[in-house]
Amino acid sequence: MEAPGAEMGNELEREVARLAHDLQQPLAVIVNYARGAILRARSGSLSPAELEKVLAAIEGEAFRVGDMLRPAGAPKRSNA
């Protein structure tokens, strides 16, 4: 039988692991958009319209990260 403290510790550990996993998703998206933009810029195929679209997507993902780190119940920025 585990002590109540140990159980809480496990719970916290699981929560941190879940948060870490969730944070990787928007970060992976940002990395993919950034690299896609670099490749297009190098080949001269990145139009201003496309650049604006990809920067907006990166911004959206950054807000998604911010929302994950906000306390529960606080207003979300990614839906703004």
């Binding site: 692991a17 870490a20 996993h21 990787q24 998703q25 928007p26 970060l27 992976a28 998206v29 940002i30 990395v31 993919n32 958009y33 950034a34 690299r35 896609g36 670099i38 490749l39 297009r40 080949s43 195929s45 990809v54 997507a57 993902e61 998604r64």
Partner: protein, 203 residues
């Protein structure tokens, strides 16, 4: 021939960004929200292919999906992506023949490189299996006697020895040998050896 990279990930934003990234490298992508969708939709294509698979997904997880590949006759290389790598998972995946096991977030450059290497591996595998099939078809065109002689020639036996083993004259061995060479298209004994060695039972 065109190449296709298949992605399974439960995050739609990840899939959209990957498609955009790979389009910059002129690689076609197919995306699936989960393992179940992949199983339902995937059809092996004629071109080079590989699969990038998130290890932790709701429903059927990455590893069991990969383990079912052999039974389904799917052979493309598989790269696992994971947010929180556990050494035991990585070892399990690589032991079962995964092409690689990468941790998120990884640079888009690294993912592109590994995917391109996986596509090249898929091409090599395809070429090998085509060679095996061609060799098998050529060998199948031989009569039993021609095959018996060809196997012994490939094993390095002299005509006289083969003749004694099969109870025929060295001159007849010559005839069978010439027929085996012309039917299989082998230009030399080395060619013939290669042809026979490519068969799975030979190795």
């Amino acid at each position: 021939m065109s190449a296709t990279v298949h992605f399974v990930d439960d995050d739609a934003a990840v899939l959209i960004s990957l498609t955009w990234l790979f389009a910059a490298a002129e690689l076609a992508t197919e995306t699936y929200a989960n393992a179940e969708e992949f199983i339902a939709r995937y059809q092996p294509a004629a071109g080079d292919e590989c699969l990038v698979l998130d290890l932790c997904m709701p429903g059927v997880r990455g590893l069991p999906l990969f383990e079912s590949f052999a039974a389904r006759g799917w052979t493309m290389p598989v790269i696992f992506l994971t947010g929180q790598a556990k050494v035991t998972d990585a070892v399990a995946a690589l032991k079962r023949g995964a092409f690689d096991f990468l941790e998120k977030p990884l640079s888009g450059e690294r993912l592109l490189t590994r995917v391109q290497e996986a596509l090249a591996e898929d091409r090599r595998r395809r070429e090998r299996s085509e060679e095996v099939a061609t060799s098998a078809a050529r060998l199948a065109s031989l009569t039993q006697r021609e095959l018996q002689v060809a196997m012994r020639v490939a094993a390095g036996l002299a005509n006289k020895v083969i003749a004694a083993e099969l109870g025929i004259s060295p001159r007849t061995v010559e005839v069978y040998r010439a027929k085996a060479m012309s039917k299989t298209g082998a230009r030399s004994v080395a060619d013939l050896v290669q042809l026979i060695m490519r068969q799975p039972q030979a190795s």
